[in-house]
Symmetry: C2
Subunit: 195 residues, 2 copies
DNA sequence: GTGCTTATGTAATGGAAACTAAAAAAATTC
DNA sequence: GAATTTTTTTAGTTTCCATTACATAAGCAC
């Protein structure tokens, strides 16, 4: 058993609260006052548990990908590449416009701007977006090997295209687009599919 | 002639300097210290000329659309809708990755996050993005009337699709994508074109 | 119970943020 | 040249930011 006074809050619950604040306001926009208030704790507890604001943000990103990113693996598990991407786009259209949480993917909305030299946050987000694109590419490479995609197909380019549409959907959602509108985009995007 | 002590700086030049700072760091990320330093003036001069930070930002957005948005009208002036969109996507791929200025469209990168109730900046950016989408839609509606697009085409949906790809390209560019990669995306996106 | 260790609440710290008061300076008008 | 108008410079102001010192509280080992 742990020695010392036990923690009076649940770290995961607190993280979920912090996640929503970061998602809604972005990294810079989320102040420690808002975060601690939403988490129901005081600053020293936050610092003891998560190090600092940046540490808390990274943990919140992990949590975000766990909670909200599951639909991606789910979609990519579809039997064919075409179906996988279809589901990916369609699910994203729904997810990004859901009520009850901010609109658009947090990896896009939480911070796009920043200096080259400074912002570690910007780089962290870009790296995670890249990882998402890689997952799609790998699925498409597999599909090509399995003959599910034509021999002439370019998995990397296709993955980049799909990812670009996904990122665009986040921007659209953040700007107030509806799920119906984004589903229409998904449908249209699929017309570029090579068969 | 104007009475009183004449302004010692050129407002448009100063605006250009401010624009670059906002573009690079976003609205929140750009501090008044950075802005005034880049503009070569002191805070009171800024406030006298532009009202406040938000006013300066809106003026910078005007300037941005004047300077960087010209390729859009240029592209939309192409004889056919297909060619117009082709040019739009291709030009965006180049523009968004150009050296010498920040990557990605400022209307996307300067601020996606923020509260529903608070951020007027977020809304301003969303409104300008919507205006861009409307321009594309209008061009496509004309094309449909002129028989340039099939009778079954849906200009609004098509414009939304194209805009979504454009927004996605901005996110990709902000994340370090190259012009070559984005041109590939543009090419792929055109495969969805209805003919 | 007494130590030991860790967490908590309060309140403060230094710094940076947007913005401005006030006086000096530079032009015009009379 | 004196009065007027506007800009500039300097030096603040207030507010909020992330982060932490410090004293107290709450659990375990003995």
């Amino acid at each position: 058993m742990a020695v010392g006074r036990p923690r009076a809050f649940d770290a995961d619950e607190a993280l979920d609260k912090a996640l929503v604040v970061f998602w809604r306001k972005g990294y810079d926009g989320a102040s420690l006052a808002e975060l601690t208030s939403a988490m129901g704790i005081n600053p020293p507890s936050l610092y003891a548990a998560f190090g600092n604001k940046e540490g808390l943000f990274r943990r919140a990103l992990d949590r975000y990908e766990e909670q909200q990113g599951c639909f991606i693996d789910e979609a990519l598990a579809a039997p064919t590449a075409r179906e996988a991407v279809e589901r990916l786009l369609c699910n994203a259209a729904s997810k990004h416009c859901e009520e009850g949480h901010p609109q658009g993917c947090m990896l896009v909305t939480a911070g796009l701007s920043g200096d080259e030299e400074s912002s570690a946050i910007r780089e962290e987000l870009a790296a995670r977006r890249k990882a998402g694109e890689d997952d799609i590419r790998k699925r498409l490479e597999r599909a090509k090997r399995e003959g599910d995609l034509p021999k002439t197909a370019n998995p990397a380019a296709l993955a980049r295209y799909v990812t670009t549409v996904l990122r665009g959907m986040s921007v659209q959602a953040a700007g107030g687009a509806t799920a119906r509108e984004l589903k229409q985009v998904a449908e249209m995007a699929m017309k570029a599919w090579p068969d």
